[in-house]
Symmetry: C2
Subunit: 199 residues, 2 copies
Amino acid sequence: MSDPRFPEDPDGLLDEIWRRLEAGVASAGHPFHTAALATFGPDVRTVVLRRVERDLRRICCHTDLRSRKVVQLEQDATAAWMFYDAEDRVQLRARGAVALHATDALARAQWAASRPGSRRCYLSAGGPGAALPSPGSGLPDGLLDRRPSEAESAPGEANFAVVACELTELDWLALDSRGHRRARFTWQEGGWQHAWITP
Amino acid sequence: MSDPRFPEDPDGLLDEIWRRLEAGVASAGHPFHTAALATFGPDVRTVVLRRVERDLRRICCHTDLRSRKVVQLEQDATAAWMFYDAEDRVQLRARGAVALHATDALARAQWAASRPGSRRCYLSAGGPGAALPSPGSGLPDGLLDRRPSEAESAPGEANFAVVACELTELDWLALDSRGHRRARFTWQEGGWQHAWITP
């Protein structure tokens, strides 16, 4: 009983996993465009998948350097990601060590490629979690209901960082009323070790 | 500029948060029916919200006692939950201390209220994560494509537990192109302390 959602040979399934991650970066409408990112705490929030490099086993999101997840990643530089495709009923979990990139070449490249609309949130006065006297966005008055220009967005770069995670574990779960299917890939000795496991 | 998705007075917003959690338990179609559950590791997976008790500040999901999250919760009995309503663009994060309930009154009540179809996954031979020789569900042969009867599901109760989390922190984020809104509630000295914070 084969499942059209994924190949049953491990290499083919690994290809399918990376294809979906790459599609998640490329398209804002793809179910893997967002992930739940868990950090030491434990804590969890939604992030946007911003970069995928299969050869480096690396996936990245962006963060404000003033956010709580940065404090948590400085305490314990590991993270867990979870992607879910509700239509296909496929869950991908991924874990690995995290490196925070700020003001280096990777951070500069990701900032340069980001759109002014996405940069707006890095312009808040106090940073994520800072107290406000009333419900508000914390943005400068002039930017409440419009996107910043390229020049207006520039100060945000000082608050910008890339969370880069080098994956060492992938856990694929395909839900099915006839019985789920689950596979685990573990990076060991320079290769992905594969196992079918009980869902 | 008021937002129809939530009241701007803290008590009203707290009501709205609990109403959504209660709706998530009651309806499988509600966006808060599922959550990302993060545990020590860090690690994260999707769970189904199974019980909400506002007076106890307690929310619950179910688990197989043989799963990795049980090992993680035994190491560090705290958890973080994240709910997301894609239509309303509302994210709720919640954190608290966890108690695992197996074979006690709460576990018996939740097992008794669960449907045979939901009980099937507790019947796998090796438990979640156990190695399989090929892609499979790990279920007994006779249950591959049908729901167990009440009697057939009974042995699953030995593998069943309730993850009960007493919440001490709620973080509400309403996304909006005109600027997001975010509120934090912290349980302190017998009451929920409220703060508007930068998104």
